[in-house]
């Protein structure tokens, strides 16, 4: 359930909700970190459930001594009212068999808060690509039917590639075709439930392998930025490398502590 930080709940109607799926390489979560950090979004509440492994730590977006001591938990909600943007960040993995319960609670909150649209940032195993996918861009999108009505024209003008349907049962030659997102975590459940509940949702994902997924996260936010124009290029040069995405201060020591000098 959503618990606001302050006394009263903020008005979220008409806002765009960005959220990650806990997926391969944690790309969606890294991308949401970049968005919250770059736009300096402020925390407005928690999405408190028993569905994710509990975890706490100090403010991952700290920029100075003063703001580095605010406690953060595993699911927090941030907003940027000027752009009508709300971001939900998930910081730990789902407890077994609780992921569908989480999806239900989340979508029920989406409906009751009257969000204008939901965008899920996710990823899928790159080793599961078919031949066509290997030869094309690694980015894909999906729109629920009611989202298609509003966003299809914009998306088409961007020349984006829709996620292909693959055989439901790969081993069977006459199997039906459906959307499969291997390694995508709750992405497919969220998408399918949103289709049936008529929630305007878009899924943006990238084919990735696990490793140092920071470049993948940067790629995914830039893919999102092509559509939402979250940040505009500083100069006339629209190349992605010039866009100022702010790396959060908590992104250090991703691969462990320093090495003992005696090792060398």
């Amino acid at each position: 359930m959503f618990v606001p930080c302050g006394e009263s709940g903020p008005d979220l109607s008409g806002c765009t909700l960005l959220l990650p799926a806990v997926s391969v390489g944690n790309v969606g979560q890294l991308a949401i970190d970049l968005i919250i950090s770059t736009l300096n979004m402020s925390k407005i509440g928690y999405f408190y459930t028993d569905c994710l492994v509990p975890m706490v730590g100090n403010n991952p977006y700290a920029t100075a001594e003063e703001n580095s001591t605010e406690l953060s938990i595993n699911t927090e909600v941030y907003s940027l009212p000027s752009r009508k943007l709300v971001a939900l960040q998930l910081r730990s993995i789902f407890i077994k068999y609780k992921s569908s319960s989480f999806c239900e609670k989340l979508l029920s909150w989406v409906k009751s808060s009257s969000f204008a649209r939901v965008i899920v940032l996710s990823s899928s195993h790159s080793y599961q690509r078919n031949d066509l996918q290997l030869r094309s861009t690694p980015f894909r999108y999906l729109l629920t039917p009611c989202m298609q009505d509003s966003a299809q024209n914009e998306i088409q003008s961007l020349n984006w590639q829709e996620m292909e349907k693959t055989p439901c049962i790969p081993e069977m030659s006459d199997s039906d075709y459906c959307v499969r997102i291997p390694g995508g975590g709750i992405t497919r459940t969220l998408y399918q439930e949103s289709c049936s509940k008529e929630i305007p949702m878009a899924v943006l994902l990238k084919f990735v392998s696990e490793g140092d997924n920071i470049p993948d996260a940067l790629g995914l936010v830039e893919y999102l930025n092509e559509w939402l124009q979250i940040i505009k290029p500083q100069s006339d040069d629209p190349t992605p490398s010039t866009l100022p995405w702010k790396i959060p201060s908590s992104w250090k020591l991703l691969f462990g502590s320093g090495l003992p000098p005696a090792l060398f």
Binding site: M55, V56, G57, I73, G185
Partner: protein
């Protein structure tokens, strides 16, 4: 999937824990109503029971309704528990008011009813002379203190963990905790999981003042140095005035350690 140098392809564990989800979905599709009922029954069995340890009777009234509480102290792990029992619970008279037992499929008994009283995972005590102190609740005036340990290799720092002066204390506090802490705060990107994190998350969300004191140590079994590393916490508001005789408590702790040492006689 990952290819190893030996020419085999193995299923590599996914950092995002996403591997299970496809299998979970498959399982759910193949599930019959009977399977669902079995799963529901299992979920009901995985209950946390609160009861009086001596009589095994369930507590009819919530503990915090029966005993109002201004200070709630939780120790998680053997060294934290050893510290609390030697320094705090050996000063003054503490009365046991209840215990919590939980059951899941990993327990050796078939259900929670058959678990012996000594298998209680959590015992609640309150201080007889000052009943508002609760050792081992969401009342607004309550302050929560959690003590626990972690292995020093879990601590991320730009230096090597080998050079750290372990054991050492770090703290995390909720927004409503306004008192000074007895050690430095846990720096990014370090995090805490499990029960201490669950308690702190709850307190943060419901705006309760809470502090977690985390001892990073390289000895995870019962160890004198590690348990003594919690001593600075005795000056905090959560534990102030609860430890009456520190030298005596240190002696009690020392005795607890030797009693628990397994004497190896392979080489004697």
């Amino acid at each position: 999937m990952a290819a190893t140098f030996f020419g085999e392809v193995v299923k590599a564990p996914c950092r995002a824990g996403a591997e299970d989800d496809e299998e979970e979905e498959e399982e759910r599709r193949r599930e019959t109503p009977e399977d669902r009922e079995v799963r529901r029954q299992l979920a009901r069995k995985r209950e946390v029971r609160l009861l009086r340890r001596q009589t095994k009777a369930s507590l009819e009234v919530a503990l915090l309704e029966k005993y109002s509480c201004s200070r709630f102290i939780i120790a998680v792990g053997n060294n934290a528990v050893a510290f609390l029992s030697s320094f705090v619970m050996n000063s003054g008279v503490w009365e046991e008011v209840g215990c919590a037992k939980l059951w899941n499929e990993w327990c050796r008994t078939t259900d929670a009813v058959h678990m012996s009283p000594t298998e209680a995972h959590c015992v609640f005590y309150h201080l007889k002379s000052n009943p508002s102190v609760f050792g081992s609740c969401p009342k607004k005036n309550m302050q929560v203190t959690v003590l626990t340990c972690r292995h020093v290799t879990d601590y991320k720092t730009s230096e090597s963990t080998g050079s750290l002066p372990s054991p050492f204390l770090k703290a995390l506090k909720t927004q409503n905790f306004k008192d000074p802490v007895c050690c430095s705060l846990l720096e990014q990107p370090n995090i805490v999981h499990d029960l201490p994190a669950a308690v702190l998350s709850y307190c943060q969300v419901w705006q309760l003042p809470a502090v977690l004191y985390l001892c990073y140590t390289d000895v995870m079994k019962l160890d004198l140095l590690t348990a003594e590393a919690f001593k600075p916490v005795l000056s905090s508001r959560g534990l102030k005035g609860l430890a009456k005789n520190v030298p005596q408590s240190t002696e009690i702790l020392r005795k607890l350690m030797t009693a628990n040492e397994v004497q190896s006689n392979i080489y004697t």
